[in-house]
């Protein structure tokens, strides 16, 4: 009998238990494999799982520990990630029929950095086809199902990551976010995630969707795990020349620093676009943050809908261009929803896309000068509505597609255009209440501040494991 329960332990606790030899990496990995099988049965969470390889890696980690060679902060901890990252010698599924032509020559940089910290990669997890969809629907792999109620969506596109973490199969997982794909599944599955400042985390070896917007980031139940993971994967990478050269703070070391007096901006007008029940849950969350010492101030986003349109002008042609070869030659290999959305980008003029790219600095500067004038953090809902059912959003490539997707990503997509960091935290849940969550959006490179607020919040609203 282990002295620690892997299904409820955080990554930090599990790593400490492995180092202290209260549990072996092999035992933790066996528990993770069993958990992933449960998560797959309930949620359709897993794309690939090589048990023999995972256990061999775990035994190697135990052997290294026995020799005193284990120094990484995640040594021997089994993790699993969205199946969109290069792994040496393997071909990621991208959640699609269309895949890379040949096995990867290197690990994606975020995976390589976690591996250097001692973490094991034991499975590839469900994602929306090509990470291009915010709901967890996937017409190739099958739709992901919410761990709290399988009739409801998981959010997407990092659906399997959020499901697996929510169910305690793994303590943390990587995902990606182009228009909300870390934040929406975290909110829907009652876990937390951090989309860092654009350029904070290398995308080298991650499947590109829209490079002007793509961000790789962690999902975990405990915000301290999010802090640890972000600290490990962030930082300049010569393989992704666009990554910031700014030093990466020790997010975890400062996470307990007080948040007393910290101003959180709330745009009441923008929040009123959400369903009334979502507004009420956000209000409860804000009260929890006030209890933790923060204070709220009114703020205003001047042109939220305009920013959303600019995001689409930037994103849709990038996605269309990336898939140009395949949409011309293998259109029938796409699911109906992704194929329909891919088509839009071909009809946006180059001049209009460039306008969106050229305007980005000006728009961000205005938001920082006006919306963030008196605060470093703004709170927004993540979903505008209570969690929809899978059936409600099963719109395929039909006429409701763009409107339905736009409503799901109403509060998340513009944040990607602005390049700002955003931490999603789950709302407190009443008995039987479905999960949902809110975002704390910060100024550029304020990840540490967001994580401190998240930690303060979790002292009032502790993380849960889906039963």
């Amino acid at each position: 009998m282990s002295a620690i329960e892997p299904a409820t332990a955080s990554a930090i606790e599990l790593a400490a238990a492995i180092r202290a030899k209260k549990i072996t990496s092999e035992e933790a990995t066996r528990a993770a494999i069993a958990g992933l099988k449960r998560a797959h049965e309930r949620c359709n969470a897993v794309v690939s799982l090589d048990e023999a390889e995972a256990l061999a890696d775990a035994r190697a980690a135990d052997a290294a520990l026995a020799k005193g060679a284990a120094t990484g902060p995640l040594h021997g901890v089994p993790l699993a990630h969205k199946d969109m990252f290069d792994r040496t010698g393997k071909i990621a599924s991208w959640g699609a029929k269309i895949r890379a032509d040949r096995p990867a020559g290197d690990d994606a940089t975020p995976l390589a950095r976690l591996k250097a910290a001692g973490a094991l990669h034991i499975a590839g997890l469900h994602l929306t086809e090509f990470a291009f969809g915010p709901t967890g629907h996937n017409y190739i792999l099958g739709h992901a199902r919410n761990p709290y109620d399988p009739k409801h969506v998981t959010g997407g596109s990092s659906a399997g990551s959020a499901c697996s973490v929510a169910m305690g199969a793994v303590p943390a997982a990587l995902g990606s976010d182009t228009a909300g794909s870390l934040r929406l599944p975290a909110a829907a599955c009652n876990v937390t995630s951090l989309k860092g400042t654009w350029t904070r985390v290398s995308r080298a070896g991650a499947m590109p969707l829209s490079p002007s917007l793509d961000c790789v980031g962690p999902i975990a139940r405990d915000v301290r795990d999010v802090a640890l993971m972000m600290g490990l994967i962030a930082g300049h990478d010569p393989r992704d020349a666009g990554t910031s050269r700014r030093a990466v703070p020790d997010y975890l070391a400062r996470i307990e620093e007080p948040v007393k007096g910290l101003a959180i901006g709330v745009d009441e007008t923008l929040v009123r676009d959400a369903d009334a029940s979502v507004q009420a849950r956000l209000e409860t969350a804000l009260k929890a943050l006030e209890k933790a010492g923060a204070r709220r101030i009114p703020v205003k986003f001047a042109n939220w809908r305009q920013i959303d349109s600019l995001t689409q002008l930037l994103q849709l042609p990038e996605v269309a261009s990336a898939h140009g070869r395949y949409i011309r030659t293998r259109a029938d290999d796409y699911g109906p929803q992704v194929r329909a959305r891919l088509e839009y980008g071909h009809f946006i003029s180059g001049a209009d896309q460039l306008t969106a790219a050229r305007a980005r600095g000006q728009v961000l500067a205005r938001v920082l000068a006006e919306t963030f004038a008196g605060c470093s953090v703004v709170a927004l809902p993540t979903f505008a509505d209570p969690l929809p059912t899978i059936a409600e959003l099963d719109v395929g490539g039909g006429p409701q597609l763009m409107a339905a997707m736009a409503r799901v990503i109403y509060y998340t997509r513009p944040v990607n255009y602005l390049g700002l960091p955003a931490l999603t935290l789950p709302y407190a849940r009443g008995t039987g209440e479905l999960p949902n969550g809110f975002q704390l959006v910060g100024r550029p490179f304020s990840e540490g501040l967001l994580l401190r607020l998240g930690r303060a919040y979790q002292k009032v609203v502790p993380p849960e494991v889906a039963g």
Binding site: E257, T355, L364
Partner: protein, 63 residues
């Protein structure tokens, strides 16, 4: 002025967009083009896509 929608989806050679989707696409893209036009009127000649990086990197560390 925004460019008129092309008569043929030339950039999709080999993939024909069904007529019912084409109408939706043109309507949506026209609305986006209006935004682009309005925003372009506010941009200085020297506005550049790299401005975004400059604004992000100019951010001072705050606690």
């Amino acid at each position: 002025m925004p460019e008129p929608a092309p008569a043929q989806p030339v950039s999709l050679t080999g993939h024909v967009v069904p007529e019912e989707r084409l109408a939706l696409i043109r309507q949506h893209v026209a609305a986006l083009a209006e935004t682009a036009l309005a925003v372009s009127d506010t941009l200085p000649l020297g506005a550049d896509s790299s401005d975004m990086i400059r604004v992000i990197e100019a951010e001072e560390e705050r606690t």
